[in-house]
Amino acid sequence: MSALPPDMDAAGFARLLGELRGAVGSDWVWSGAEDMFPYRDSFSPVWNTGEERHASAAVAPENVEQVSEVVRIAKRHRVPLFPISTGKNFGYGGPSPNVNGSVVLDLKRMNRVLEVNEARNYCLVEPGVSYFDLYRHVEERGLKLMLDVPDPGWGSPIGNALERGVGYTMPHFRDHFGAHCGMEVVLPDGEIMRTGMGALPGADTWQEYPYGFGPDPAGLFAQGNFGVVTKMGFRLLPLPEYYRTGLITVPKRRDLIKLIEHVNYLSDSGMISEVRFASPLSSRMADPDFAALATKLGGPSDVEMDTAAEAVDLPSWAVDLQFLGPQAATLAQWEYAKDRILSDIPGAQAIAGDHFKLPATEQQLENTTQPYASGIRRKAALGVPSLGIWEIVRDDGHVGFFPVIPRDGEAVFEAQRVLGDAQREFDLPPYFSAITVPLFWHTHTFQMVFAPSVKHDDPEHNAMVHRAMKKMVAVAAEHGWGDYRASPIYQDDVSATYSFNDHILRRFHEQLKDAVDPDGIIAPGRGGIWPRRFRS
């Protein structure tokens, strides 16, 4: 399915493509249905419908100078560009743009690891570098550093960070945008800007101090459309000496409240790596009576859930703890965590898990000796990229809604009830029930997950998923829970929920957009930010 850029005819499009070929070479510009097929969002719930967004062409520069030239050409032709890094943002739109007819600015060829500094614990990379690439670079050089990787290793550290993606190690590294330090950006007029200490010629601290002097605009480029990020620095964790795990269970439903408070303390004190909450009762969902109780309208009572747990002699909640650091320190932290929680919650129990010196062996990475059921994916927990997560993907992919929930047990219970009731009208697996646990990914907050699958050959199912996504976004927002990241087809819906003071945040962004990019050259609509040209 071909599309033309907005306000452009075929002849103008041909002239545009000619200029783009002049800038990057004829081998690196594509158009037409066949070559553009891989630029569609293959996880789209609006696949093959009028709502699907189609790019008109793709252009792949090999360096920042070519990016700048492409932006200048696009500006002359008033053509929207949609930058992608490795293009693997599946569940959130993949490589497809917000605006039909956009030209995808495919940065995959810019794949250099520019620096990894082992003594000062940082890296500087280009957008086309994947986590696989960066991991190989670090390991081949024997550098004693640990990455923090998201689920699929083919993603880009820059792309993932700009989407505010997450990983699975220590708290301040899991927030990938938060762990960045310094960026280079091509602005909508083609100028090249560096943030933080990168703005000071001769500074050797670009990846050590992110702010420089004055306002720091770096945040504008995450989920935004104010420029094309061409370099980005990241802080890295020195390879810890030792890895230790342990499981703590608590018997009663309301024990989750205290358990969360303890985990908050441990995490905010820097004592633990990623945490996985779980309900051992999840194994009971195969029993229709239990499933009916857990998904009951308005939620079951605490007594009902405690009775159900006691009947099968299972604890209500569990938490996987992980420790990274010197061997003696990880042991002391595990002992401390056990004492702290077991002395405060009657009936709490602790089981020591695998522990070993890093780097892990192949067998340790395979995670086959843990003495308890664990939701931890070992490779990700140790910063080793893989595609192991794809075992959970079904049908033709899925979309994702991950509302931000307070790190508080009562809030978790409320979210279980409200979101569980909201999804009842849809014929979908119960993403929310009385046993749904929070995800502790971002450094200081919880999220929950709603990720229904899509089916290319079942438009009715997809339409139902599409309605469900919009409803969940709206219902969550009524309770103060906002999505953290969205596909282009949902970005306006999500942006609209961040509405304090008559949407002043969005209006402020629009003012900025009008000032630096009134024609919408860089990803108009991304983040719900539309320039004047497209608002009318």
Binding site: F37, P38, A58, K108, F132, G142, E362, L387
Partner: protein, 141 residues
């Protein structure tokens, strides 16, 4: 339609041409296949290597259960180059299509050469990246 064509091509090929996967998969393999093997290792193996828990391998194991078609792509001898190309450029189910900035036409030709070569010429299975790096570190210590 693209997927239907690919499926039809597989059906047309039948299921009989795969018994040779028992050939010993050791050694480096033919020199002229190394480039294609690297493409396979980087782009395909993370999901399709000979590891049952990987999503691609698991999915194909289910698809071909009861047949003699192996689940690991690297062991397949029934995939002609045009079929491989269709899957690479169009994806299937939740496997997304791959762009030319990821797997260029030249890369794809090398990949096709590797995956259509006789098994004895392909040499040992490629390791997963993590395994390769761990073995390298352990070998260096």
């Amino acid at each position: 339609m693209r997927l239907l064509l690919a499926s039809a091509a597989l059906v047309a090929l039948g299921c009989g041409a795969v018994a040779a996967q028992q050939v010993a998969r050791t050694g480096p393999g033919a020199e002229e296949l190394q480039a294609g093997k690297r493409v396979y290792a980087h782009w395909c193996a993370p999901c399709h290597a000979d590891v049952p828990s990987l999503a691609g391998t698991m999915s194909l194991a289910v698809k071909y259960e009861g047949s003699d078609i192996p689940a690991a792509l690297e062991d397949r001898t029934d995939l002609p180059a045009p079929v491989i190309s269709v899957f690479v450029r169009n994806g299937v189910a939740w496997m997304p299509p791959f762009r030319k900035t990821e797997i260029s036409d030249a890369d794809l030709a090398q990949l096709n050469a590797y995956l259509t070569a006789p098994l004895e010429d392909r040499g040992a299975h490629v390791p997963l990246l993590a395994e390769e790096m761990v073995r390298m570190q352990e070998g260096g210590e």
